[in-house]
Symmetry: D3
Subunit: 238 residues, 6 copies
């Protein structure tokens, strides 16, 4: 029995709002249960120094949590003067996931920055960020296409992410905050529309996990990601 | 003629949503035209070192802008490793405005932090933050009251703020971003429900202004703040 | 009765020493009562990046307090690794005040930095800094003129500043530290020689203030600034 | 054909030197091919604030690279004033891996810090760090035991780590720098002596990977980790 | 021939003003030629953590240069967010020099901080700082004595410092900025009233120096320090 | 009697290992008793901005201690976010010492950075760093020569350094940590092969020292440095 009363393989309710804010080239609010992440895509007509003159673009991400997105207030990173290790780890993950499905040559010498800001947190924020950021990135690419700046959409595939875990001995999908705090193993899986694995990060918080458990987790993740991708597609056509 | 087509004394449309997020003791989304600020109030059962043992509480504020709340992306302060002078100036202003109407003795030895995060910016963000934060602060105070932690609401009065300016020679109310960028004088006024002035900050960006113009600006501000306070009251009863 | 025994409208004694140090293009020590601020103007033959190639100059300011300029020692900002919000707020104010009377086109593509360092503090340091910095800026402009780098002095007018406040219910001029700590409302006013208002910053530390009180404060400020400008002129001819 | 001429499942030569330096309670130099990491364990008789009074200890890790451990010099993090995201990610990983096999109650209210400093880098530094740090941690635990400070060794099991990857379509074990730079997928696997998985971090740098490839990678990793654990045991008895 | 026209062994004119500012327990402006340093001593009734409960006091120093104390403006360290290596080196030197003549047991559990701020620089600022800071420290000690907080003055001896150098092959005393920039060897010597050497820091900027040259330098330094100490004594009796 | 049982003029055992790591153009492990410092030289084909276009090169140094090189663990400077004053002082000293024997014109427009990282500390680390870094610098210069990038070795002479001190009234050579902690005067001397003095830094930690003691210290230092230079030469020919 999950504390959330959900079935082991049951995703939380997903809601996606495109054009949530008006200035960004892509702006998507993704809500997965009580987790809400605002993902904006900003296009800049230049690339970082290490890529100059190489005829390709770049996609990068930044992640942040509003101080009171969490149960108890978390100190503001801007006031502390630095981003935590966790923040940096997550934004590196989001950037890698999106670059995995982007043809950077097609994008040309420009950079798209995905800002993923958590308005409310209830577990799974990094996965929601990836899933929502792909949509914002796609909107920004379509914007470039409509302006004639690129000749085709550089996104080769969808990408989405979900968390899975071992909770009281059983594999479960899409952990909320309470389940995440209590589980033995927490794994984040990022996959493409072609079911290719882009990233897998599994950590045994309590007991180590077995190869058998790992297989169960990956099966669950593949199912969940499939559902998320259906939601991404539905949002594209709304 | 204002670029926004509004009358000189016309406020933008105001929309207030209480309980916008669920973890905070007070959580208010305030929208004034295209400016949207999320104001949350977080209660902490301790006070800063300089107040310990003095039998009173503290109210403070932090302010931030999401990187793509603006027309072009602004670098994330957490990534830069420091808050700008503008950010610090604004959060000090918000804190002072709220403390001006709070009986800190009644609050007792606890601190309430108002986080004002701009989701979308179109001028007047600091004024919207003050107006919205007062509602979030009030909700947090009511929460403490309902828990029996305090015996009465420590807020002695309402507080709200509005910007006024001299635009093409005339005094106008509630400047949006385009008007603010073009105006000669920009003034932010913070007032209480009793029409007391709590804070006034006027800056001549171009030509200096006269005492007569100043009087016109204060008249306009008083009118606008009156309307905002009516909206605050309406939101309290919704 | 003021704790300083001064009349409500009485300024402290003002003393201005030009060429206080020898390296800077302008160097003015201003003493207002026990407040002493050293203001130096440094010319640099380039402008900040955001102004390059626009055919205009820039005037900016930095502010600091020596650690023991205050009654009890204040930690050194260089050792703490950052400037406080108060410091940044003050240096932004000084810069805006000086730019309000400078024709930046006439200055040409160069920057003048005003360093305002408080040697001894007894209230009103930001106002003394503005009043003294205008003189240092003028000396630097005269220096450029004498070198043939500019064709006329880019200063269009004088600028000076004074603090006023409500102390025990009455409006008073030029608060010292003890009066400032005790007053209900503290207001800093920056005006030009033409009596135009450049900046006004009023804060009710205790009770909010009324429109009537505000008028009294502005009257007092106009008088005080008039006297300061007479002192500036006298210093120019010494 | 690997660029290193090794078989797909062939580990580089491993050399372990205990007591490499003399001050630390545990000090191990681990060399895996040309990768050399100095792992020291330092015991401190207190725990971080969040654990005080809870009757348990803590194990944490810090990671660093000497500036010229790499092919071209990398800027010193102490001089830059911050640790990179990569550094923080790695030191969090090392800490989690070691805590997974430590009974923190048995350790008591003390902290052991594992400093993993890379003297020379040729790929796989984080895995070498985990494998070497386990030995240093064990030596520090034995030291505490010999001093009578703890009643039994708090380590429940061995822990070791290895990298695997997809290189030119095939799964290979223990990538050196050149192979790592060229591979499609890079995966780090941390396992216990009981073959439990503690951590798995796989990233598709180029093409996404399939479930089948993932199984091959995990098989290879299990083999490699088995060999590393035999080396750990041999070092314990030397 | 020195560029300053002074004799090889000729000190610049020295002027000492005690009680230059009024808040500090000791406040001395020392002028040596065109070098001007304001030295203040601040008493704090506590000691740094590493000395608590050991029945002794501490003397420490901080050093800063006003941005335009130099020929061309130097960036403000508070704005840069850190103190340079040179600044830290100098403030450590000043602190050591003063502690060398202070009986810290007699001082009791309190700290005196010497702030040495350079108002105008023309070479020899660290030596002027030490010479002036000794006077400020003495004034602060006399203040403690007059308040009955200590039973005798904890200063055992005078301390003063001077720079010497090899300039165009010859040893010279008290280098100004122009001479310092041109000399081969620059040496700072700190001595007590008993002619004991407290600190010697010699650096060959160009050619290395010989033992013979070193002896000449030390002879010159001893003479110069003798004169400075006579000035210190004269200032004490003024 | 020294606590180390050594004669007053007896150096600790010296061991020098060239090519200790493989990526750097020069890599030397120097061991002096229990002090072990890894010195690497890295060539970069550009110079710092202040030297661009002046037809000369630059030699600079950075210094660090591994956290557990010391008896008790020292916090990692990269984690603290800044280098201590001591670290900066030492790396500036190392850089000056090496530049004193380098013909920067012959080096050409390139920079060599010497990283001196202390693996184990037992007193005298800065002196060991200078002595070892000279060898690493020489190896890097030979490397440039062998590549035809420079026409002759820019090193004009050897440079080495040793500490001396007054310990229980007597002058002793090459202090270890225990002796250093107990001595009255600590002096570091840097000399060239021609017996020229490059740098001398003497500090009276307890009693001031006399000219006679200073002469004894310099005699001891000259002897010790002579032995170190013999070791440098021997290492060059191994």
């Amino acid at each position: 029995m999950r504390s959330s009363k959900r079935q082991a393989s049951q995703l939380r309710q997903v809601q996606i709002t495109r054009r949530f804010t008006r200035h960004a080239e892509g702006s998507v609010l993704i809500e997965i249960g009580d987790t809400r992440v605002l993902c904006t895509a900003s296009v800049e007509e230049s690339v970082p120094p290490f890529l100059r003159g190489r005829g390709q673009g770049w996609v990068t991400a930044e992640y942040g949590m509003l101080p009171r997105s969490t149960h108890t207030r978390t100190g503001r990173e801007a006031a502390k003067g630095k981003q935590s290790g966790r923040t940096q780890e997550i934004q590196r993950l989001i950037g890698r996931a999106l670059r995995a499905v982007t043809d950077l040559k097609v994008l040309g010498e420009r950079q798209i920055t995905l800002d993923c800001d958590v308005l409310q947190a209830d577990g799974g924020t990094r996965c929601a960020a990836i899933t929502g950021a792909w949509l914002a990135l796609n909107d920004a690419c379509e914007h470039l296409l409509s302006q004639g700046k690129i000749s085709k959409n550089p996104l080769r595939d969808q990408v989405a992410a979900i968390s899975v875990g071992i909770y009281q001995g059983a594999a479960i999908l899409d952990l909320d905050y309470a389940e995440d705090a209590d589980c033995d193993t927490d794994m984040n899986v990022v996959m493409t529309g072609q079911q290719g694995i882009v990233e897998i990060q599994g950590t045994a918080e309590g007991n180590p996990f077995t190869r058998t458990q790992m297989d169960e987790l990956l099966d669950l993740a593949a199912t969940g990601i499939g559902e998320l991708m259906a939601q991404q597609k539905a949002a594209l056509h709304s």
